[in-house]
Symmetry: C2
Subunit: 397 residues, 2 copies
């Protein structure tokens, strides 16, 4: 079968704020074949900038847009996805945004191949790499912000515990801004609310920049509350500082990697940064296959792989197929709240099962259906004209 | 003074081909202040994708466009450029294309500051870092493609020698595609045409991917012709393979780095790739300051810094200010040909002086003037509409 259409769609909530909420808008990519198959993928990236990568005029042989690279191509088996990814990345060698933009298309290609072969994507990945195809449940963790004070944080944490969460991540806000005593009080409050038999994680939101010594001290001070990890204590590009930090053997594990826009960036923070948990966003790194390769690299290095997902359950599905068959990677970032757009986007979001776990769907492709009717109200039409030519116009949804 | 306008302009030649010619189109950025100053910068990047980074609607606090970040800001001294760069990059943390797009604006900001303080940019950089402000001439090298055969390559090389070039780089084409014997014949032809008292460089155009052993063998085979470097024998992201190659002590120096879209990517290929020449494009890495920081890192590591420039002499000016004061870095990539657009863009291109050298201009700012009248015929108007709002429309040139 041939690829007959490649269409990005920009969706927005009516009011966008600068709040740390990645679900206020999104870019979905729909791919169709001449045999009637349809696949969907989601990018975690600026919708307009990524959309431009689907329609930008050619500049030379290294700046050719994604639509041109994919349209009319043969798609029959998993190896075609790998071949097409190589083509897209080669044609887009000098487009910095190429991985952010292509992620949605790559995920959609896997969705189609899975539907055609009547297999869930995780089984295709297992088959390609001669590894076990037995899926394992994951423990979802909730992501929330710290309250402005330790008291507020305690209430937030207690509420999560009452709602049945066994793991929760607390992020940014006041962390790192009012001195060590306040930082410790925040983590104590998070632990006391959730209680002793739970997992808590601390997300420092790059607050210490390149100051690995402060990050080391905080890790030592937080250890009494046994957090699962300290996330992004340093700037994403501060790999040398991460290296200095991890070489000092901090008292709790260090997590990072959500900003990995390529396999190499993830490899860099693993191999040279020495982190203990690598957090990969399938909607940024170029899709499912590069995420899977980072997962394999994590296995080789004896560190933990975990998804970064702050979009809809379409993104969650893509993220879960990547590491569903890896029993040693137990945690999953689980978007529990988010905008109406993100909530209504798929027909059946992933439920938290009675045992508190999340399971991959035993359905062809990604295993989730995009409900176009439910999100049509958020569709944001885009029209781009370059000289006298319309190079992009939102397709029929 | 305050920044009063920030305008990207897309220029295109009438016919764009997939040829390896980066001068077929370009994105210029013009910044003006409320006190009447005007600065210009050029990006080496997809014009439409980069332009979208100047106007994309906010998604959340990490996806805020460059125009929003800069407009109305105070600009008085060099430290303001550093401050504004931090702001732009922080606001665009989740926009992968941010450095490619911002490069033009950053260069324009330096142009303005230099004009305001009546200083060439290289002097401002020297002052900021307490280093020598004495400029040194650079030896320009011509960049050409290998001919399809050794005979053709010889003719190309001989022609360059006759035109007075003392250094020339030969790239891609047949290199690496027809076996060792042909590869060696190509390099021999390049050397014989230019003659013994010249410098030749070999650009393999990433042809050996991750196969560092073949790259090592070719370096050994080419050594008899004494090339200055072997450029990009491996894929840009193949840092582990670069490391394997350089650890084997290849017979000729290895060059790479033009694809560095951030300071870290350059640091990675230097520190972990072990290369001997780092090639930085000021129009991709985020502008003059990150380029200058790579230059300093190269000094610390005892390796060579050299510009990558395949645009107009506006880009060449920005590139030259970065390392004008570093006598140990002697070579400069010099765009000698290119499209009419790139040729006509600045009023007075950099001449090759009688001694065969290129010198930085002792004029305020970048020291080159953009001739808008000459390139107006290539201006490509862009109109972007998102929902009911025009988010971008090409400004008055």
């Amino acid at each position: 079968m041939k690829i007959s259409s490649v269409d990005p769609f920009y969706f927005q909530m009516p009011d966008i704020t600068s709040a740390a909420d990645g679900t206020q808008d999104t870019l979905l990519v729909r791919i169709r074949t001449d045999t009637g198959y349809e696949g969907w993928g989601e990018c975690d990236a600026s919708p307009l900038v990524s959309l431009a990568v689907y329609c930008c005029p050619m500049s030379h042989g290294n700046i050719i847009n994604i639509h041109t690279s994919l349209i009319g191509e043969t798609l029959a088996e998993p190896s075609d996805v790998v071949r097409l990814s190589e083509k897209v990345l080669r044609n887009g060698l000098d487009i910095q945004q190429i991985q952010h933009a292509y992620s949605g298309a790559e995920i959609a290609l896997w969705d189609i191949i899975g539907k055609k072969l009547n297999q869930p994507v995780y089984k295709l990945l297992a088959e390609m790499t001669d590894s076990s195809d037995t899926p394992h449940p994951k423990l979802p963790y909730a992501s929330v912000l710290f309250g402005d004070t330790p008291e507020e944080t305690y209430q937030i944490s207690l509420d999560l515990q009452k709602r049945g969460y066994r793991a929760a991540k607390f992020g940014w806000g006041p962390m790192g801004k009012y001195g060590e005593e306040n930082d410790i009080a925040l983590v104590r409050a998070a632990r006391e609310g959730m209680g002793p038999d739970t997992q808590i994680m601390i997300d420092a939101g790059v607050v210490w920049g390149t100051d690995y010594e402060t990050a080391y001290k905080r890790a030592a001070a937080f250890a009494q509350f046994a957090p699962t990890w300290l996330e992004e204590p340093l700037a994403p590009d501060a790999i040398e500082a991460y290296n200095s930090l991890t070489e000092m053997n901090p008292a709790i594990p260090i997590a990072a990697g959500e900003g990995s826009n390529s396999f190499r960036m993830a490899e860099d923070v693993i191999v040279n940064g020495g982190i203990h948990y690598v957090q990969i966003d399938t909607g940024r790194i170029g899709g499912i296959m590069p995420s899977y390769q980072v997962c394999q690299l994590a296995e080789q290095h004896g560190i933990q792989y975990v998804n970064h997902t702050f979009k809809s359950h379409l993104s969650l599905a893509a993220a879960l197929h990547v590491f569903a068959t890896k029993p040693e990677f137990k945690l999953i970032e689980y978007p529990a709240a988010g905008s109406a757009l993100s909530q209504q986007l798929v027909k059946e979001p992933f439920p938290v099962d009675k045992d508190g776990m999340i399971r991959v769907k035993e359905l062809p492709g990604l295993g989730v259906d995009v409900v176009t009717e439910a999100i049509r109200q958020y569709l944001t039409p885009v029209h781009i004209q370059v000289a006298d030519e319309t190079v992009f116009q939102t397709a029929e949804l």
